[in-house]
């Protein structure tokens, strides 16, 4: 009974997941998925995982929801009702579930400081990271320095996903203005009669989008001292562009930031990251050994972390925006 809030939130999470299964209207399901992500972010906060909560809230409740809605605008918004229970599936689920619960009976209790996961590597990082790297946020120091290869691989995965989506969904633009926007802007619905109603949204967006970008920059560069970093900042930047697209239309958004520039930025971020590794090689260290970048070791570490987080932030922002533009531009032809 250590944390009543924790217990209540987890129970809500289970209920929302059940509701997602039972709902047939896909719009309602996507809204429930957004609620699920926000509950998950709150639970992560109570479990002391502030960086993860940040990312889950931005990614799960923001980008994921928008992508699902964009897909639903292109496909269908209702699930076909099923008339009989799928007993084989229920049996498979129950058997797997019981096996997993049986497996957890041997696990250490929640919060136990003597659990095996807290011995060996983690205390080593917690001990030496403040001195060796000098960055208060230990998640950033582990992500960028001790596990820098993994983060490089992850940035490459995001890059590949962007390429896959472009290959699948990009319309050939040589056919002129054939592509009708799947995302009609707030003025053009119902032949312009909504002009004055869209004004509130337009004024609000014009006021808030610069603040969103400012906050994205803050998260990017403050990731060393508090929760934050490249991934969260990239997603927040992308949310600003997506808001602009939703309010002002895809054509205007394409003029603000041309897709070619976006694709160049996608590649540039990854190159910046790998380039930092090459630079450390050139300066005499090993690949991604940031110590070699400056005369003093911690200074070099800070410089290295700055560059790679910038690379990650640029790639993630450009990838999320490109994916959204590609979905929105698919439209009806």
């Amino acid at each position: 009974m250590s944390n009543f809030v924790d217990i209540a939130l987890l129970a809500f999470l289970a209920l929302v997941a059940l509701a997602v299964t039972r709902t047939l209207n896909l719009f309602a399901t996507v809204a429930l998925t957004g609620i699920y992500s926000l509950l998950m972010a709150s639970i992560f906060t109570t479990l002391d995982a502030v960086d993860v909560a940040f990312t889950e809230a931005a990614v799960g409740a923001g980008i994921s929801t928008v992508l699902f809605l964009a897909t639903m605008a292109l496909t269908t918004s209702h699930e076909k009702p099923h008339h009989h229970h799928n007993w084989a599936a229920i049996m498979a689920t129950l058997i797997t579930g019981s096996a997993l619960v049986y497996g957890t009976l041997d696990m250490p209790h929640f919060g136990d400081p003597q659990a095996p996961i807290h011995q060996h590597v983690a205390p080593h990082y917690i001990e030496i990271s403040p001195n060796e790297i000098g960055v208060p946020n230990m998640v950033t120091s582990v992500l960028a320095t001790y596990r820098g290869y993994d983060t490089l691989g992850e940035t490459a995965v995001i890059f590949t996903a962007c390429m896959a989506v472009l290959l699948l969904l990009q319309r050939d633009r040589r056919g002129g203005n054939r592509n009708v926007m799947a995302v009609p802007d707030a003025d053009q619905r119902r032949g312009g009669q909504s002009m004055q109603h869209a004004m509130i949204l337009r004024v609000f967006s014009k006021f808030f989008i610069p603040l969103i970008f400012l906050f994205g920059l803050y998260v990017q560069f403050h990731g060393d001292y508090g929760p934050g970093g490249g991934f969260q900042a990239g997603v927040i930047f992308a949310s600003g562009f997506i808001l602009y697209t939703l309010v002002f239309g895809l054509e205007k958004a394409r003029q603000v930031i041309p897709p070619r520039t976006l694709q160049a930025l996608v590649a540039f971020g990854l190159l910046l990251y790998a380039g930092t590794g090459i630079a450390t090689l050139v300066m005499g260290g090993q690949f991604l050994e940031y110590k070699a970048l400056a005369h003093e070791a911690t200074h070099g570490e800070h410089l290295g972390i700055l560059f790679i987080e910038l690379g990650v932030g640029i790639t993630v922002a450009a990838v999320m925006t490109t994916i959204f533009f590609t979905f929105a531009g698919r439209g009806r032809s």
Partner: protein
Amino acid sequence: MDILIYYTSWLLLLCGAFFCAVGGLGILRLPDFYSRQHAAGITDTLGAALLLIGLILQAGLSLVGIKLVMILLFLLFTSPVATHTIAQAALQSGLKPKLAEKERDG
């Protein structure tokens, strides 16, 4: 003075929680989409604002307090716009509000 701030902030937190619960009840029980928007608006603005003011009193004048003030400002800006957008989208999609039946005279 400290005791006063402490108890005031607790009162505000409890009021905020109460209004959030009222908003939730309203979303379940009100008959029509547009009236449910009113209930959702109560949760977003009144409930969240009271909770945040209670927390600001507890945080005092510090970086955390200033961040909470900014969160309050942003919330007060974005929640009404969100409610407005949802209601306007519903109206444009053709969802008619449930009006009272016309009184018969005579």
